[in-house]
Structures are given as C-alpha cells and as structure tokens.
C-alpha cells in the first residue's frame, strides 16, 4: 500500500473524530465570523414586518423531531418578530409530530414576552388529511381544525379564534416544513394561488434548492433556508440565538468536507498514476 492509496483510504473513525472536534471547538470558543444576509431571508423578514398591527399569521408546522435543529430557531425567531409588534399566530401541523416539537419552544417565547395563550397565539395540534385538509381550512377553518386546539379546548373558548373562519382571514400564511412531498407546494396550489393569500416558507438547506423556483417566481414572498437562514433571521431581528452561534462550526465543517474531497481525489488520482496503465473498473 503506497502513501497515496493510504491517503484515499483512511479508516473512517479518524475523520469522524476530526469532524466532531471541528464542530465542537467553535461551539466552545466561537470565532465570530460576519454574517451576510441574503435576499430570501431579507424578503421573509420584510413580509412578516408588513403584517399590520393586530393582524394574524397562519403558521403550518410541517417538520418532525429530526429537523428541529434547523427549523426550531426559525420558528422561535418568527414568534419574537410577530410578538414584538402585536401580530397573532394561529398554528397547526399537517405532520404528526409537528405540534409536539414546537409546543415547548413557542410557549417559552410567549411567556418570556408576556403574551397569553389563546389570545396572542394558539397551537391547534395535528390535523390529518394533507392537502384536502388545507382546502377545508379555506372553506371552513373550524371544521378543518376539528373544532379544538391541541389540548382539546373548544375553539369557541379561545378569543383568538373569534371571527377567524377561513384561512382567507389570515394576513399571511407561513409553512415551516421539512418533509417530502413538499406541503408548501400543496399550500401554494390549494390555498395561496387560488385564493390569493400571501405565503412565505421556512425550510431545511436540503430542500431549499427544490423550493427556489417558487421563490424566484414570486409565489413565496420570502424563504428561510436551513440554519444559515435562521442565523440571518436572528441577525436581522437582533435576537442572537443558537443558529448564529452555530455558523462558525458550520464554516469549519464545510472546510473539512472540502479538504476530505480533495484528499480523496488526489490520493485516488496519484495512486492511479502510480499504477500507470492498470485498468480501472467502476467503483474504485
């Protein structure tokens, strides 16, 4: 085994440990690299800011515990921005765990900012039925939401729900989502496009490229993409949180990945050169 071959064939545990260190060190001691805000986040922030005082944001939570790292900071910051200017939030989930994962974090923000559950925000829980439920929420919101919030409180006992009979009564629809097929695209076709309700989304970095065409065509009025989007949003609203703190570790890990790709390829190439002429099948 020559050195090049060895370079392209390290035992995985070595670089796993390096990966952990590279991510952990900036968490313990951040570098404080500057964050530049992209247009997708900027538009998201402006769209939320444009909701009138006393207005309502309809918020669909469509992610599970696996994606809390990227999406929880987005939701938290959205609550902070909305509550800072007296905008109400009605949220529910089209994905089973969605309501569970946001319940504790939103309650914490509500308490901290002196807001009242049922008056300033409400969590209606999981509502099955996918796109058909989305349409039902336009025709008859209470029926679509099965008449209760997550704790089983009747909607008529919640002040925030009075007069909110259709999704069309909301000023803005936001989908925080990380499942496939995209619930945001379903909201677009079942609600936003037919009824002209403005819509914005928050999603993971993975799903951002797939959702970009709808942002660029102006159908999503804003988009938060992954932890980076969350960090930019925290920065814009001046609420530094876990996302901003994670950006340095993110940077370090990206460098490591590029380094590994380079090492793998150089090792592979040089090894091939060394064994010049030896035919290489697929799957090196």
């Amino acid at each position: 085994m020559n050195i090049w071959k060895r370079l392209s064939d390290l035992d995985r545990r070595y670089y796993y440990v390096v990966l952990i260190l590279v991510v952990a060190l900036p968490i313990i001691k951040p570098w404080g690299l500057p964050i530049r805000v992209g247009s997708t986040t900027d538009d998201f922030h402006k769209t939320v800011e444009a909701v009138p005082d006393g207005g309502t944001i309809a918020l669909a939570i469509d992610y599970r515990s696996d994606c809390i790292v990227e999406l929880n900071p987005q939701v938290t910051t959205l609550f902070r921005q909305a509550f800072a200017k007296n905008v109400k939030i009605i949220m529910w989930s089209n994905v089973d765990e969605g309501a569970n994962v946001t319940e504790p974090i939103t309650r914490a923000v509500g308490q901290e900012m002196g807001k009242t559950y049922g008056v300033d925000w409400v969590n209606l829980g999981y509502k099955p039925g996918g796109e058909v439920t989305m349409k039902k929420m336009v025709d008859n919101f209470w029926e679509g939401a099965a008449y209760v919030d997550m704790q089983g409180t009747r909607l008529e006992d919640l002040p925030i729900m009075q007069g909110f009979n259709s999704l069309r009564d909301a000023d803005l629809l936001i989908d925080m989502m990380a499942v496939v097929p995209s619930p945001a695209q379903n909201y677009l076709k079942m609600v936003s496009i037919p009824y002209g309700l403005p819509m914005a989304i928050g999603t993971t970095a993975i799903q951002a490229p797939t959702e970009m065409p709808f942002y660029s065509s102006g159908e999503y009025k804003g988009m938060l993409a992954g932890l980076r989007g969350a960090a930019e949003y925290e920065f814009l609203t001046k609420n530094p949180g876990p996302a901003m703190m994670g950006m340095d570790a993110q940077s370090a890990a990206h460098l490591l990945v590029i380094l590994l790709i380079a090492m793998g390829n150089i090792g592979h190439l040089m090894d091939r050169k060394k064994r010049a002429g030896a035919p290489t099948g697929g799957g090196s």
């Binding site: 545990r13 796993y16 440990v17 990966l19 952990i20 991510v23 952990a24 968490i27 313990i28 696996d66 994606c67 809390i68 790292v69 990227e70 089973d96 765990e97 309501a99 569970n100 209606l124 829980g125 999981y126 509502k127 099955p128 796109e131 058909v132 099965a146 008449y147 209760v148 997550m150 089983g152 695209q185 677009l188 076709k189 079942m190 496009i193 037919p194 993971t204 970095a205 993975i206 951002a208 490229p209 797939t210 065409p213 709808f214 660029s216 065509s217 102006g218 159908e219 993409a225 992954g226 932890l227 980076r228 876990p242 703190m245 994670g246 570790a249 993110q250 890990a253 990206h254 990945v257």
Partner: protein
C-alpha cells in the same frame, strides 16, 4: 429534578446512537432505535385521536347529529380487512376512493402552479442572466424529451447543455445537503456541550 433527568436521558440516547458510527452496530443502539419506533408509532395515533377523531365525533355526530359522517368512518375501518385474507379485497374500496380524490385534486389544482411557473419564465432577453435562465429551462426540458432521438446537432447540443445545467443544480443540492446534515450534528453537539456538560456558554 425532572429537567435534569430529561437532560440525562437525552444525553444517554444521543450517545447510544453515536456508538453506531464510532463503534459498530450494537444492542444499545438497537435499544435506542426500539424506543424511537415505539414512541413515534404510539404518538401518531394519540395525536390523530385527540386532535381530530375525538372532537369530530363529539361535535359532528354526537352534538350535531350528522350521521352521514358514519360512512367515512366505516370506509376508513374497511382498510383493516386487509389483515383478514378472505375479505382482504374490501380494503380496496377506501383505497379506490382516496386514489380517485387524489387524482382529481392533481388535475384541478396542479395546473395553477404549473401555469404560473410557465409564465414566470417569460423573461425579456435584455440581461445576460435572463438569457442563461431561459436557455437553461429549455435545455433541461429538451433533455427530458424521451421519444426524440439524439442524432441532430441541435438535439445533441441541447441535451448536453441541459445535463450540464442539471449537474450544476445537483451540485448545489449536494452542498445544501451537506449543510443540513452538518447542522444536525451541530445541534446535537450544542446540546451535549451546552445543556448537558455546560462546557460552552449558552
């Protein structure tokens, strides 16, 4: 006390799963997996029951006497016949209904998004980026023509270009995927270092 216990439990499960990558497949990992499957399976049912089934039955059927709603309930329950061989075919009836409704909504609701994506591509060719964008859209659509043979020069050119656009886009997807995955590890390490060990500042 319960908050501390919660943190320790979370830490235990986090480490249990990392033994898979840093060590190898083992029983502790599989125990963690078992807990995950059990809790999530039960939770899905609990949520559907409390947030949807129970209130609908209480309001629509018991309070408002809409007995027609019993039909969809029976329809849904028919799915369970698939576990009883001789009458398993009955489960096709609700499936037929769902597939039919699903197909109908594809036909009536997808055109709206589809057309708005087409019109969003009507860009004036007065900027280089617009030109590249339009060429990209057309080349990739042409790449997916399956019944036109790639023999003529324009077809060859368009499909090659289309593939190049796709590959650049997949590169972006790859990078975004790396970014998401790293964020996940970052989140867990933040938990271990900040909430559990309290080495780092929150």
């Amino acid at each position: 006390m319960s908050a501390t216990l919660q943190t320790w439990l979370s830490a235990f499960f986090t480490i249990a799963i990392y033994t898979l990558v840093l060590y190898k497949d083992n029983k502790v990992f599989r125990f963690a997996e078992t807990v995950m499957i059990g809790i999530t399976a039960a939770n899905g049912i609990v949520l559907t029951y409390h947030n949807y089934i129970k209130p609908v039955v209480a309001v629509d059927i018991i309070q408002n006497h809409k007995y027609l709603q019993l039909i969809p309930i029976v329809l849904g329950l028919m799915m369970y016949t698939r576990f009883v061989k001789p009458i398993a075919w009955v489960s096709r009836i609700p499936m037929g209904f769902w597939v039919g409704v699903g197909a109908a909504y594809i036909l009536v609701r997808n055109p709206g998004v589809f057309i708005s994506q087409i019109t969003a591509s009507f860009l004036a060719l007065n900027k280089l980026n617009n030109l590249i964008f339009v060429v990209g859209v057309i080349a990739v659509v042409v790449y997916f023509y399956f019944t036109v043979p790639i023999k003529s020069a324009p077809m060859k050119g368009a499909t090659t270009l289309g593939k190049a656009f796709l590959l650049v886009s997949f590169g972006a997807t790859f990078a975004s995927t790396v970014m998401s995955r790293i964020s996940l590890l970052l989140g867990r390490l933040q938990f271990l270092l900040q909430d559990w060990l309290r080495i780092a500042k929150v």
